[in-house]
């Protein structure tokens, strides 16, 4: 089942056209990886999905609903969670407050409590640190918090902007494992935007390659990983 469908999206910062006719889709429960180098427009695409940047052309639907008509602060209620570049944890609030705010869109406070317990169960470190301010966590712990918080609203899809950024390789591996586990256990679709091509494609079902604001390749993640051109362009081998 189609969940997120982006079709023919173009967008610009002022006069600078960044995205050109981008189309991609994510099915329910699917992990899709969008890879591309610095400045390709990956962050911009996610900011468009969250409603922080307008499109000049194109359509976006989530679960059949026209997402561009939904106000930014209402998008979480239609099932969209966004982990922005740099993780977006609120450094001056405690770990627990960050989690509570993750469930801001939920009506029932009982549901909120349950989800917090579930988050602590999944990330025991967060329970230990719950009354510490988020800014005092390590980079890896903050990424865990970001993921835990993104799950608090029971989303249908989580869009993640470079979850590997600034993390040691071993932590990156751990983070990707968690992402994969969360997605398969809870049937949550994930759209990962990454420069780390190997790691993100190796947990993904499908992938897209974004270059200078255009989708230049798409396909099964495995096929992209084994592709000679992509390997030489992105890995230098």
């Amino acid at each position: 089942m189609r969940l997120l469908e982006i079709s023919g999206v173009s967008a610009a910062y002022g006069d600078l056209k960044v995205l050109h006719d981008v189309s991609l889709h994510v099915d329910e429960g699917e992990i899709v990886s969008l890879v591309g180098s610095n400045g390709a427009g990956k962050t911009m695409l996610l900011r468009i999905i969250s409603g922080l940047v307008p499109v000049t052309e194109g359509q976006i639907t989530l679960g059949g609903k026209n997402l561009l008509k939904v106000r930014p602060y209402e998008r979480v209620s239609v099932g969209l969670s966004h982990i922005p570049q740099g993780r977006g944890t609120l450094a001056k609030l405690t770990v627990k407050e960050n989690l509570i705010l993750g469930a801001y869109s939920l009506k029932s406070s009982q549901q909120r409590e349950e989800n917090i317990e579930r988050a602590y169960g999944m990330f025991p470190k967060l329970r230990e640190r719950k009354n510490q301010i988020a800014g005092s966590l390590s980079g890896g712990e903050q990424q865990m918090l970001a993921i835990a918080r993104a799950l608090m609203c029971d989303p249908k899809i989580i869009a993640m902007d470079e979850p590997s950024l600034g993390l040691a390789p071993i932590v990156v591996e751990n983070v990707f494992e968690i992402i994969q586990r969360v997605s398969s256990e809870r049937k949550i679709a994930i759209l990962i935007v990454e420069q780390n091509l190997v790691q993100s494609l190796s947990i993904a079902h499908r992938g897209y390659v974004l270059e200078n604001g255009r989708i230049v390749r798409e396909g099964e993640a495995k096929a992209l990983l084994e592709d000679k051109d992509i390997r030489s362009a992105y890995l230098g081998i």
Binding site: S50, G51, L52, P72, Y73, E74, R75, V76, S77, S81, H82, P84, G88, L90, A91, K92, L93, E97, I100, L101, G102, Y104, S105, R149, C153
Partner: protein, 290 residues
């Protein structure tokens, strides 16, 4: 020694209202990085609003609190929608000009509506005071102080413990992330503005037993409270509160030892000295909030 202790007592009591206004300014600044230069004008306006309701009802200053709170909240809502909201997120020059402009507008509006002569809101307790040993506490100031403390405590609880407070702090730190979480930042800004204005307004109303109501009565209060906000570290509620009390004490000590006209000057001198050595304020950390 008597003079000294008595002037400290007077200063703490007077400082309560500075602290109240300073915390009101801080709530607004903390959430949307906007310095409310119109706080003095809202202070003034609230006294006129009190007079207005009094002229129908004959209520005293304390009975007027709910009515003035509601009316000033309404004025705050309207001014936010039509003056603040359009410039939010624009340059800080624009926001400064808007609050300064709003200040002039309100100060002149009250002249148009109520005339230019000073008014009084009669109060039976204007001259009543409490004696504790050899010291005297003016009753109106004492009540104003106590109400101010209660309001400041209430607002800090709201900010630090409530659901709404959490969404305020989230918006203050990162409005984009707050929106991603489902928080409507416009609503948070509107409510922060209203809370800040109502605090200032109640401060003004509480001083009607001992101040004439005229269109510039709020100006010194705004100036001193803004200084308390800066000394308190810009955006720090606790800092603004303590510095509000501190400036009240300084004013009172200077008035006691020199003359009543010197009080404000004393505040300026101390402010400049502190600012010279600690430009980030007494409680300001090097790295500022936000």
């Amino acid at each position: 020694m008597w003079i000294f202790t008595q002037s400290i007592i007077n200063g703490i009591l007077a400082g309560g209202v500075y602290a109240l206004i300073a915390v009101g300014i801080t709530v607004i600044f903390g959430v949307m990085r906007l310095v409310n230069f119109a706080s003095g004008a809202f202070f003034t306006l609230s006294m006129y609003l009190g007079y207005f309701v009094y002229s129908f009802t004959g209520w005293n200053c304390y009975q007027l609190i709910p009515a003035v709170a509601i009316l000033s909240a309404a004025v705050a809502y309207v001014t936010f929608k039509f003056t603040i909201s359009p410039v939010l997120g624009k340059s800080s020059d624009a926001t400064i000009l808007v609050t300064v402009g709003l200040s002039f507008f309100l100060q002149n509006l009250v002249i148009v509506l109520f005339g230019g002569t000073a008014l009084t809101l009669p109060s039976e307790i204007s001259n009543v005071s409490i004696r504790i040993g050899e010291y005297t506490l003016g009753l109106p100031r004492t009540i104003a102080f106590m109400v101010a403390i209660v309001l400041v405590l209430g607002v800090s609880l709201l900010v630090n413990k409530s659901n709404f407070g959490r969404s305020m702090r989230a918006t203050a730190e990162n409005p984009e992330v707050a929106e991603m979480l489902g928080i409507k930042s416009r609503r948070v800004y509107t409510l922060a503005w209203i809370i800040g204005i109502v605090m200032t307004s109640i401060g003004g109303l509480l001083l009607t037993p001992i101040y004439y109501v005229n269109n510039t009565v709020g100006a010194p209060f705004r100036t001193v409270s803004l200084m308390a906000v800066v000394l308190g570290g810009l955006g720090d509620i606790r800092g603004a509160f303590i510095c509000g009390l501190l400036l009240g004490i300084i004013e009172s000590v200077f008035s006691a030892y020199f003359s009543a006209y010197i009080g404000l000057l004393g505040i300026f001198i101390v402010y400049l000295i502190i600012f010279l050595f600690k430009p980030q304020g007494i409680f300001g950390r090097k790295e500022r909030v936000g």
